[in-house]
Structure formats: structure tokens, C-alpha cells
Symmetry: C2
Subunit: 251 residues, 2 copies
């Protein structure tokens, strides 16, 4: 049922096969999507479960008809470590969600200028939810609290994952070449991490720290990408490689 609209519900809104809709969900279903009594939509909990649902005559409730088994998630956890750009993080969150990221970890790098407000984090979480619904995902990516680069490397490192560190200049090998030559390791890896620097690039010290934590420096091509375009290019390559490989398509 791919054409049905999606709505994220909290587990607390569900009681048996009934959902209590919030005021804003009623508005969205009735006024924005113009669904009427008896019409259907997909209710998802953002944690991997989804149901076919139908609006009831009482406009505050919907009924879950049956679980639906959707599978549009990447077969591996994919985390984006994103040094916060001056502007454009909204688009990064939206597009990274569409491409299939599992979590976004904002990084306060040495050349990051802004510390985001709690309102910004809330905003990015709303954008991730909307983008997950629109791109027909089952999971809403987690937008984590910002971390320093050093703390991030403690949490996200090569003990658990394959880790790639994107450099705009310098001469590291291309990301795609690395992904294809790592394909055996990626077959069984449970997690993959991509780190993207800020407008001014990473510092030499940050690069050294990444290498020490087991990150593979990679290039995204000969052209200089803005820091809001770089994550999309990197994630597109990772998602396509993983998805084609795990689905048994010949790479």
C-alpha cells in the first residue's frame, strides 16, 4: 500500500486496536490530507511497526485494521557524524533521512561556529519525523545531542563499526572505491559511520584523532562540495552499496 499517507503515533496513543488522535493529528488527517470517515492511512510508531488504519466516525479516533509489513530500511545501522554547518542543517536532516540514515550525531568541531539551541534540536527531530513519513520509512532517525569530536570518537569508532572520514582536500582514496573493496567486511558489519566536516574543513588534529580511532579517510571527488551537499553524496554512495549488496544484486 505504498500510496497511502503516513502518520506517526506514539505507543501511548494506542489501546488495543484503537488510536486516540491528538488535535494536530486530527487537523492533519482531516484538513490537510482531507481523509474522511472510513478512509485509510498507515499508522507507524517510528520504531519499525506499522498498521493499516482507518478513520472512525468519532473524528478523535482511528482503528488499526492489521499490521503491515513494510521493508524500506537499510539492512545496516548508518550514522552520520555531522560537524554543524552555519546554515543548511534542516536540509541535511531532511535529505539524510530520505536516504536512510539511522542516526544523526551533530558534532561541535574546532571550526564549528554555532552551538545549537534546544529549539533547533526539536526542530530537526520534527523534520526527521516528517521526512521519515514522506519517504515511507519505518524508523525515524534519532537526532542526538551535539558532542565534541573527541567525545564522538569515544562513542563512534572502529571497535563496533566501519568508519569513514570525508576530507574535501588532500588525496585520500574515493569513498566508493573503499566501500567496494570493503564489501566483505560490510557483508557482516552491523553499523557504518560517515563523518563530514564543517565549512572550513577538519583541522589536522581532528584528522589525526579520527585515524587513531580507526577511521578511513576518503574523498568525495575532485570538486569541492559545500558542507550541506557532502553528507548527501556520501550517504547516497553508502546506501546504494549496502542495499545492492545485501539484496543480492551483483556489485
Amino acid at each position: 500500500m505504498p500510496q497511502l499517507q503516513r502518520l506517526t503515533i506514539l505507543d501511548g496513543q494506542r489501546s488495543g486496536s484503537q488510536i486516540q488522535l491528538t488535535e494536530s493529528q486530527r487537523h492533519y488527517l482531516g484538513r490537510v490530507l482531507r481523509l474522511r470517515e472510513g478512509e485509510q492511512f498507515i499508522a507507524m510508531n517510528g520504531q519499525g511497526q506499522a498498521w493499516l488504519a482507518t478513520l472512525q466516525s468519532n473524528p478523535a479516533t482511528a482503528e488499526l485494521l492489521h499490521a503491515v509489513d513494510l521493508q524500506t530500511e537499510l539492512p545496516i545501522a548508518l550514522t552520520l557524524l555531522m560537524a554543524l554547518p552555519k546554515t543548511g542543517m534542516d536540509d541535511v536532516v531532511r535529505q539524510a533521512t530520505e536516504i536512510g540514515v539511522t542516526a544523526i550525531q551533530p558534532i561541535l568541531s574546532q571550526r564549528t561556529l554555532l552551538q545549537p539551541s534546544p529549539q533547533k534540536l526539536d526542530r530537526w527531530r520534527r523534520i526527521a519525523q516528517e521526512a521519515a513519513e514522506q519517504s515511507e520509512r519505518q524508523f525515524i532517525p534519532e537526532i542526538l545531542e551535539p558532542q565534541s569530536w573527541q567525545d564522538a570518537l569515544q562513542t563512534w569508532n572502529s571497535h563496533e563499526s566501519r568508519c569513514y572520514f570525508c576530507e574535501a582536500r588532500g588525496t585520500p582514496p574515493p569513498l566508493l572505491t573503499c566501500l567496494l573493496s570493503d564489501r566483505t567486511a560490510l557483508e557482516t558489519a552491523s553499523s557504518l559511520i560517515v563523518a563530514i566536516g564543517p565549512e572550513g574543513g577538519w583541522t589536522e588534529e581532528e584528522l589525526q584523532q579520527a585515524v587513531a580511532a580507526g577511521y578511513q579517510p576518503v574523498s568525495l571527488g575532485a570538486r569541492i562540495l559545500r558542507s550541506v551537499t557532502a553528507p548527501l553524496v556520501a550517504l547516497a554512495l553508502v546506501a546504494a552499496t549496502i542495499e545492492s549488496q545485501r539484496n543480492g544484486k551483483d556489485l
Copy 2:
């Protein structure tokens, strides 16, 4: 000299080793970039030539010191056929330019809602120029006059090029799988074309026409991408495949 700022000049502004700067270029160099007499920048003609240039004491002129050989272009012509989205074409032009596209052909598909004004085309051309300068390219992508899908298929077809047609639904093979299995053909191809549909998708008729013109239908993954994200994902995969392959990196 990758860190120097870039400025596009018209061939008519050049006379021997002197450039006559326009009013807005003087403003940009002096007020925006704060370059002073004797400071250097890269002058490019957007057609593949570039020079190291220096500002002279007369602020209306700059001197070309010598040609510089930059190579950040893709080794193949890459054209994006883009069914015009309702919104977001500015971002598509900017990001497609960064990724390395050679030309963007706006398409008036059956489900395209808008016919762009001449002002829009001018705007997209300015954005392409700025993005080419910022991403350190030597060529400014051409933004062509909109065409109908039928006319576009006459111009852009498999007689001259490898052609891929991206479908959001249906079950075509993944683009990356196709690119890798076409690698022998891509070694010698001079041109590669990627077509992206509008918000509502292509019609069945448009799909049939594309297949008849030699287009390979491809998928960009299990998630539904917005029509402004889809071109970036597709172009990222194409650029990375071509660039890694032609540069002799093992794929």
C-alpha cells in the same frame, strides 16, 4: 592553488593579459572578498580555461599572470534531464553543479505543473555560475531551455549516450548495480544521461517512450526520495563511478 577565490569572466573582458572588470565584479572582489591591489584570485572563463590573476592599482582592471591547469571536471559529459519540481529547482541546480553535471535540461513532463519564466532560467544560470566557482570547477553547466519529454528523447538518447531513467516505484534494478555492470561501456562512452521525474512520478506512457529511446529504468533504493533529492543521489552515484573508474581506481 585551491584556496584562491574564483571569478568567472567573459572572453570579451580579456585583452591580452588584462581583464576589464565589471562594476559588480569590482564590488565582489573589493567589498565582498576584500581583495586589495596585488592580491590574487583565479579568473575562469567557464569553458575550461583558468588563469592566476592579480588586482591592479586601477580597481577596474586585473592582470592575468599565467594559465593554471586545474582538473576537477568529470571525464565524461553528464546531463541531468529534470522534470521541473514545484519547488526546489534552485537547490537542484546548485547541488547538481557541485556534483559535476555538464548540462541540466529542464523537462516539461505530463505531471509537471509549472512552465518556468525566463527570469527563472536566468536565475538558475546565475546559481550554476556561482556554484561552479565555489566548487572549483572549470566549466559552468549549461541550463537549457525547457523541453517536452518527447522532444528531449529526440535530443538525448542512446544513439549517443548511456541513458538511465529513475523510477521511484516499480522494481527496476538499482542504479549502482547497472553502472557497475555497464563499466566496460562507460569506459569509452562520451556522454551519460540521467532522467528524474516530477513529484507525481512519470506516467506509464513516458516510461514506455524512454524505454523505446534506449533508456535503462533504474531504482534509487527502497525509500521514496523527494524529487529534489533524487537527482543528487543519482548524480552522486554516477559521478563516483565514473571518476573512480577513469582515474584507474579499482572498482
